[in-house]
Subunit: 300 residues, 2 copies
């Protein structure tokens, strides 16, 4: 018998723009939640700790963070945010700060791996062995759950930095990635859209030529993910994906790019079920963090 | 006690150009081997069956095949080669033909997943959780072993069809892939090299400009695999990789393309241990098939 069985789990979605903290046992039982902008580490982590202190007890914690971060438990910098360009956040010992504050098991992973876990447990990835979650917003990132495990390796996926062909030779937008210029994130993130068109994604009307270009670059990225991994489903979330006309354009472009080569009915006939929005809406990340806490508690 | 413990395993490397069949228990105990060109299914499979009939008994069989192929055990076409452009081989029930001939457990997977398994068990992937094997030859393909399991999903990886940027806008070689023109395989396979330069890879001297171009496209592909999967090691085999000057060029290009973003010592300082030739030389595929047979026997 587990004496903690009625305690909820603590989840943290540590985003580069905002933090979300919640106490919950699942999507239908969110007992407390708070959301605030990501400012300095001191202020931001102070608010998160104060929230959880006010809501003890809980039986475990899960953190899904922006990155790059160190996911290797045997590394001396395990749980750190590492080489982020985000001011003040490079080399922050995110996991250590929460470990010092709370004596519960704490799981730590990337925001996108954790969102994939949430979708896999309670959303659009339910029942599948191999699910990818891509977010398209201020940045572009991808993670996944493969046979119940989040994607780790040398470090973790960095799908936002995929190199893609230009959709036409006439496209001379330089891209905005400080590392790679015209990688996926450099060409198709929210800030890239704004740099290219002088307007944000939300301000561009659905019939603006921007969307065909955006769909084409995202479809090239999705195709490359299919060629490398052959996932069973690709879930696309994030702020830019809020423009509902974008997803159908991406699906059509992916079919065109694959050109009948990947002979699965999921691609050829049922692509609406293959490239999908998050089943948990904007809650994939925070509920994924709760799922990670649960997972961490269960494995002891 | 297992009464079959002294029987060897049967391995088949079913390539688009040649078949290799072996009876072995591991790299140091190959008891019989045969190799012949891939011609018609009847002739080729007839030779393979005759070889194994002459070498019975064996306790299990492993098949690593060219593809695309159906790896889904619950599919009615499980074990088939599916949409290959190779004359006569589309919709061949490869697994079924061997099942009919031999009453032993038979494992079935792609040639590159199986080569990754071989390298993982006895070669350059030993002790690692996440290893990718890329072959660059008549075709380009990639597979991998992730936490002991070969890469399956919707279908299986098709890394040869990755879409890549052109290395310069002046590169107007159209590519030779019948499905995608200038995908990775269209730009950098052995036949693509020959179509571009009028000479085979083996005929081009090491200081020919072809090699810088080849290295750059392969490095773009390797970078994309790193961004999607973050593997712990990438093993590069196949006929084109026999040109020993190519691998060092690829390593340098990968470092340039990642541009310090993936902050691992394996990339920044020890790339010679990160992108490596097969530990089993040209035997990754056939020994991988033997490893698959062993694996199939052990799981019952």
């Amino acid at each position: 018998m587990n004496c903690h069985q009625d305690f909820p789990y603590a989840g943290i979605e540590a985003g580069g723009t905002k933090f979300v903290c919640a106490l919950a046992s699942g999507p239908d039982d969110v007992r407390a939640q708070i959301r605030f902008p990501t400012t300095t580490p001191e202020e931001t982590l102070g608010k998160a700790i104060a929230f959880f202190k006010a809501n003890e007890p809980f039986s475990a914690m899960g953190i899904g963070t922006f990155g790059p971060c160190d996911l290797n438990p045997s590394s001396p910098t395990y749980g750190y945010i590492t080489s982020t360009p985000k001011m003040g956040w490079a080399n922050v010992d995110l996991l250590g700060i929460f470990r010092q504050a709370f004596a519960v098991p704490i799981g730590f992973d990337t925001d996108v791996n954790v969102a994939a876990l949430g979708e896999s447990k309670w959303g659009a990835g339910l029942g599948l062995d191999m699910v990818i979650y891509l977010t398209v917003g201020t940045g572009i990132g991808g993670g996944g759950v493969l046979n119940g495990q989040m994607m780790h390796g040398l470090i973790h996926p960095e799908m936002g930095h995929l190199r893609l062909p230009r959709i036409t030779r006439a496209d001379d937008f330089q891209g905005i990635c400080p590392y790679h210029g015209d990688c996926l994130q450099g060409l198709a993130s929210g800030p890239a859209i704004e740099a290219r068109w002088g307007k944000s994604a939300a301000e561009l009307p659905p019939d603006h030529p921007a969307w065909q270009i955006e769909a084409r670059y995202l479809a090239l990225a999705v195709s490359n993910v299919i060629f490398v991994l052959s996932p069973q489903r690709i879930i696309m979330g994030g702020g830019v994906m809020h423009q509902k006309h974008l997803l159908p354009l991406i699906r059509t472009e992916v079919q065109g790019l694959l050109n009948g080569y990947v002979q699965s009915p999921m691609i050829l006939e049922r692509i609406d079920e293959y490239i999908v929005p998050p089943g948990l809406g904007d809650r994939s990340g925070i509920l994924g963090a709760v799922a990670l806490a649960k997972h961490t508690a269960e494995k002891g």
